[in-house]
């Protein structure tokens, strides 16, 4: 699959994890795409960590409101029933466990559910922004990412980059499969069409436990 098709495929699969009524925070990049694929009949509330819930679609050209941007600084809208608040309250929502699902990218994830997604020492140090609070506080943390980076596995035995948080990831969704983080390790629960378990394991440094009930990934 091509990169862009991968992204779409991953985003669609993530969207299926969301339940009616969920409060959801979507990270910048791939995770943002998830909003485009919310299943029929499911209504979710999107949290924007700069200070509101109820993110709506992008505004039409010429209707951008300088008072209304998302946490990435892009112009957005707010849906009826949304609410604005300050940064302390925004992270009361996050840290207090009032966000049902957060979806974000990763540089590395490991067998224990440790996550590294905020810096590469000496290279990229953008800061953690709200990520550390989100993965610590959200009820469910879904990592949505490409399975490998330039051919190198991103799902490792042990993260090597500085962590975002320890034992925080619940589910990993890539273009190759769906992996659940359990006390026993990483369980491959779904596999992308056309791939074998060996394909996935070969692209993964961590040892995968294969679910007795392994399914084909559907989006």
């Amino acid at each position: 699959m091509e990169k862009n098709m991968d992204k779409e495929f991953i985003a669609k699969r993530v969207a299926k994890e969301l339940k009616d009524g969920d409060v959801v925070n979507l990270g910048i990049g791939l995770p943002t795409l998830v909003a485009n694929y919310i299943p029929e009949g499911v209504e979710i509330t999107l949290h924007s960590e700069n200070g509101f819930v109820g993110i709506g679609p992008a505004p039409k050209e010429g209707e951008e409101d300088p008072y209304l941007v998302n946490a990435g600084g892009q112009y957005v809208t707010i849906k009826p029933g949304g609410a604005f608040f300050d940064s302390a309250f925004s992270f009361l929502i996050v840290r207090g466990g009032h966000v049902d699902v957060t979806v974000l990218g990763a540089l590395e994830v490991d067998e224990e559910g440790n996550l590294a997604n905020w810096m590469v020492p000496g290279k990229m140090v953008p800061g953690m922004g709200g990520a550390m609070d989100l993965v610590t506080g959200a009820k469910k943390v879904i990592v949505a990412m490409n399975h490998t980076a330039k051919g190198a596995p991103k799902i490792l035995k042990k993260c090597r980059l500085p962590l975002t948080a320890v034992k925080c990831v619940n589910l990993i969704i890539t273009e190759m499969g769906v992996i659940e983080v359990t006390d026993k390790g990483l369980v491959l629960k779904e596999i992308a069409p056309g791939l074998t378990v060996e394909d996935v394991q070969n692209a993964t440094e961590a040892q995968l436990i294969i679910s007795d009930d392994l399914k084909v990934m559907e989006v």
Partner: protein, 218 residues
Amino acid sequence: MKKNKVISVKEAVDMIHDGMTIMIGGFLGCKNPTKLIDAMVEKGVKDLTLIANDTSFPDIGIGKLIVNKQVKKLIASHIGTNKETGNQMNAGELEVELVPQGTLAERIRAGGAGLGGILTPTGIGTVVQEGKTIINVDGKDYLLEKPLRAEIALIVGSVVDKSGNIKYKKATRNFNPLMATAADIVIVEADEIVEVGEIDPDDVMTPGLFVDYIVSGR
């Protein structure tokens, strides 16, 4: 409280001196107090310790203070949108303390609320915990995060009455109401200045008692 706190941008910036610790409100350039910042750039005040969520973009709001090398130390949650911040950090010209966004908000709030600190699970097991006290409460580890205060806070307000009562509109609230509580001198750059009594007491988000001076952002 003074009855009319409105001053000129020049009078405001006259209070800002080299080496001061300054908080600046806004989020990724969304409603930084740009008139005050531009005047700071013009004045060339330097060696500042800056507390802000981020350093915006190189040519917008707070970003200019970085590009102009007026900041000695930065406390922020995110610097990825302003390459110059990273460059100065890597070159050893700028000291940067990166703080998780929720912790940054809570530390500023604690500074305003007279709390000695807060205990947060965020950052446990990461580089954020380096040098900090870990406190176990009922079986779970938390980081003791200390309060933050500044000598001056520069914030924005959408509607501000002459006694300093502020209403923020939409996503412009962010760190502004917190910073208003946590500095010795608070200066608000107002989109609109109205008479006392024009803001419904239910709609006031920062009571005027926190605000020392008002400048017009128009």
